[in-house]
Point group: C2
Chain length 406, copies 2
């Protein structure tokens, strides 16, 4: 393996780092929890607040293009997930979007009553699915399998399978193409959660013939804390889905103010209420950092960073157990290790300038974000982690005290 | 009636105007569509973006208090709507919150299948109710009445009555106290939409013994375009409601990442996904403009402004027909007139420096926001409206061309 410095010298994404504001004193390996601040975003948001809102006031809906902002953002996200703009809607949280696509999927399979998901899926996916089945009653239920048993679990009762492409804890990646085919062959619909995929590597929903997808705006897309989420509906389903959350922004003619609900044509019917323009503007601005970025290069660098981190950490910290698959095609853009004192280890690591995160019960998670990380950062992070482990810096009461958000 | 200048001299809310940034060249009578920019908000948002997000990064959830921000904002809104903080949840759009409280209400009345609302209610209320009944099937339905027939329509089939306290077109106000009692006497639950109430005049949900409420953050609360909305659940219902939108932020222990959904205690269970921190921060900052403001004085000034506008416009523009009730207790904080060419009239008025809005089919709507409007503004607006009408300035092709948002 080339040295970190050599690798950085020959990194074709090297110049992209300047598109972000990175605090000097930390190495940030948590862009898969919250992406960093794009350069220039602060000034552009100032303009949104002072001129679009402050000066244009309500006229901003037309003059500043707020009413079209969700579509504008959808176009930028569509380009990153292998979709047409007219199949992507932006707004609401990931959780709310899961509810929207799940209810849409169930309506397309009226004779089946099971939502199937992965026991290790991100909890909100499971919670929302559970809540929907309880709301519907009538025999609807959520069934859980694991990656190993998933294929067998897709039987004739299953209406929809909700899977997150990349496991938020282990970084293990489903084979979207193969699994989608398998799900559909068994008469069910495939819903992909792209929270740890969009912006992390090339995604091609159309090529995979996915039925639905959702994803978040604040991880690899760098849209800011709690940035609006997105959803995807395959074009073939667009005309047939009746939105369960039928708000005015999904109406055919919202400003006619008629009492009867008529869904808008196409993807617009999946919109609900008035979008949060400030958070949405931030996401819109952030997505410009992907301009002219070749996602295959992002994927390649991501795997190089993962390989380097695994190699350096395994050599230096034998007490950490790798949980992320070694094979490139079986993982996303993160590396996770297990340690029984994982929480305290991560707190000590953060105190020493390397920000990753902890996921219960014992996972240390490190996100690789090639747009702004250098090989040298990975090298330095491994060295600091080594010190935390060898000198047992984590073994202090203050690092065991749980924060609200862990 | 005192002259406008005299009235402004003796206005006890006069100094509050400086808490807002008001563009010089316009008179803004549309704060009931989008509130104005609070002074200092831009700088404080800059700090949220550059320091909380940019520097603290993911640590902002703990260090900058993002995780508690929804509760912080809920506390400020609770004070304006006569509720305890532990009965108010902030987040999502008004439309999504309507879905949440409607589904919660239906779960409390399992033997009744009708949602009753007002045919003239804001459309999204009707659309969301309609979507929910279609999702549930099993005989659930939305029935519509009008203010005149509402009382009689509350029969033994009605589970919940969804009413907007102040009609968005006419400004007519329901008597919340009397109607709530009537609804409950007939075994149904009362849900109040406070979009045109919160921040406009004193609201007292607890005193009215309302069951549920929702409202938006971007009108009289000045939270910015598409600011997060809020909902209220009466304390007596909190333990019994199962959230239909059961996202991780409503979980008892979101960061334990367990696969099974357990609702949080109390109002927190009504939260769903990760909140949009930028838009929510803006709302949080905006609400500080209400600090030490006596809402009874706001109500009093609001009615003075309405009276002045009605009196001046009726005298000057006989072709405009008043549709807002004259009696103070029967109206909110807006004045509406009808004109067959309402759209063009409003466009001409805006072009001449007075911003109100048009609501289909023929309503000119003027919002009275006592925190930043002066009697002199009302006087000047009436004079400009007179010129638009007398000189038929509206009678031009360019003013008839509809914008996307009207």
């Amino acid at each position: 393996m080339a040295s970190a410095d050599e690798a950085d010298m020959s990194d074709s994404l090297r110049s992209i780092r300047s598109r972000f504001v990175l605090p000097e004193e930390v190495i940030y390996l948590d862009g898969n929890s919250l992406g960093v601040l794009p350069a220039g975003l602060s000034d552009r948001m100032n303009d949104v607040i002072e001129h679009q809102w402050g000066t244009r006031l309500v006229r901003g809906w037309n003059d500043a293009g707020w009413i079209d902002l969700p579509s504008q953002v959808a176009g930028k996200i569509a380009a990153l997930i292998g979709a047409e703009t007219n199949c992507v809607a932006v707004g609401d949280s990931t959780s709310v979007n899961i509810f929207k696509v799940l209810s849409a999927a169930l309506s397309l399979r009226p004779n089946r009553r099971v939502i199937l998901s992965d026991r290790n899926n991100f909890p909100t996916d499971l919670y929302v699915a559970d809540g929907l089945t309880k709301l519907l009653g009538q025999g609807y239920e959520l069934k859980l399998a694991t990656a190993d048993t998933m294929e067998d679990a897709v039987d004739e009762t299953v209406a929809a399978v909700l899977l997150t492409e990349v496991d938020y804890r282990t970084g293990e990646r489903y084979d979207m193409l193969t699994m989608t085919k398998h799900i559909q062959k068994n008469g069910a619909l495939a819903i992909w959660d792209l929270c740890h995929s969009a912006g992390a590597f090339p995604v091609n929903l159309d090529a995979a013939e996915a039925d639905f997808a959702i994803g978040c705006g604040y991880k690899y897309l760098n849209g800011g804390p709690g940035a609006p989420a997105f959803l995807y509906v395959a074009e073939r389903h667009l005309a047939g889905v009746a939105p369960a959350l039928s708000g005015w922004m999904g109406h055919k003619t919202p400003f006619a103010f008629t009492p009867d609900y008529l869904p808008a044509a196409g993807i617009h019917r999946m919109m609900v209420g008035t979008p949060p323009i400030l958070s949405l503007s931030s996401l819109n601005i952030a997505l410009d950092a992907f301009e002219d970025v070749d996602m295959t290069l992002v994927r390649q660098k991501s795997q190089e960073l993962c390989d380097r981190f695994i190699s350096e950490v395994e050599r230096r910290c034998p007490e950490l157990e790798l949980v992320t698959p070694r094979a490139h095609e079986r993982r996303g853009s993160q590396v996770s290790f297990r340690h029984p004192e994982g929480y305290a280890v991560m707190q000590a690591l953060i105190a020493n300038g390397v920000i990753g995160d902890f996921r219960a019960p014992d996972i240390l998670r490190f996100g690789m974000t090639p747009l702004y990380l250098r090989h040298a950062d990975i090298q330095a992070a491994a060295e600091i982690l080594e010190r935390v482990m060898c000198e047992k810096l984590w073994d202090q009461e203050k690092y065991r005290k749980r924060a609200k958000v862990t």
